[in-house]
Symmetry: C2
């Protein structure tokens, strides 16, 4: 078989990818502020399920962008998502990306209490007393703990990105978040992951970054 | 709607997840040494396409494990994959995880030469003159450059994990690698990503880690 490479310059690869995604989405239309997020999730996964499974609470994107502009930080439950989020754009507004999953005190509390490190991480985030975006790319237990905090009224993130992936309580944990009045972006169902978590954050940040010209 | 959470202890979540994956794969059978890799990719993505798209060259898993035991390092084209790979198990055998994508010399060469940083990173890996596993979770251009090195005979990785994701030259770059005689694990088609890249490395490392009891 003759394998033919498409001749695309490095700087044009992303643009060409988005053209292909747009072509294959055919006549699917998305609200303007959601479109880039949906397409970027497809771009990062090559999985068109994200055209159907992403759910946005009303005004979620605007609220998230406003929070970032006020200097909100991002807390995530995976080191991979932390590695993937664009710190440069976020830091322009004063925010940083935090992940407590490898912290010794979190591991210790989790062991002692028989809870997941992700659930303990949510408590640690809540205790910061700061405006935060919480990004769950791995652990449904993070979303369940967030649900408890939100319904008890003692921690209310500016946005919950709820995209854990998997088979145990993942579907349910996302539905719980969508029952609250917290601003959310959720990938309904089993799919998600640290790549999708980082991607959604970056889509928000790139929308705020006129250098990128979206 | 009443949302019911499954009562699974933190330490049992992964095992329960693998049970569900095994159930849903029904009568699908995989060669013993590939099974854990396939299931772990499904676990990390909730995407059963990986039951069909993962391709292994003959003896790839055994060759990779032998290389890690000899102290081979892992070079990857994404910081996210680097963040996700289990450094603890790898370091027991003397290997480390490297990613050159943010290196200033790589960025500079890429700019000057009109190439991608991923392609330049492959050259930097080749110049190390060490036994390496090359893991492409992002850039098809890394695989194309590896193909050139392999066919020219000046760099021959112990294993190529070829799982870039996307729409431009991704499919072709994987087919190129599968035309060589290099040991490979490739996710045929458009899918892959840094999560899958890290996951395949971790599956190999966990097979070598009797503590995990697989």
């Amino acid at each position: 078989m003759k394998i033919e490479l498409e001749n695309v310059k490095p700087m044009d690869i992303e643009r060409r990818s988005f053209e292909i995604i747009t072509e294959e989405l055919k006549d699917r239309r998305f609200p303007k502020e959601q479109e880039l997020i949906v397409k970027r999730c497809i771009h990062t996964s090559a999985d068109f399920d994200y055209a159907d499974n992403l759910c946005f609470s009303e005004g979620a994107v605007e609220k998230a962008i406003a929070a970032i502009k006020r200097g909100a930080s991002i807390v995530t439950d995976t080191q991979m998502a932390k590695a993937g989020i664009n710190k440069k754009v976020l830091s322009r507004y004063g925010g940083e990306v935090l992940c407590f999953m490898s912290d010794e005190d979190v591991a210790e509390d989790a062991r002692r209490q028989g809870r997941t490190r992700a659930a303990v991480s949510v408590d640690k985030a809540a205790a910061l007393g700061k405006e935060l975006i919480f990004v769950a790319g791995n652990a449904p237990t993070a979303l369940v703990r967030l649900y408890e905090h939100i319904t008890e009224g003692d921690f209310y993130p500016a946005l919950v990105v709820g995209v854990p992936v998997g088979f145990v309580n993942v579907v349910q944990s996302k539905e719980l978040i969508m029952e609250t009045d917290v601003p959310y972006i959720v990938a309904r169902g089993r799919k998600g992951g640290s790549n999708i978590a980082a991607c959604i954050c970056n889509a928000l940040l790139y929308m705020m970054d006129s250098d990128r010209g979206y």
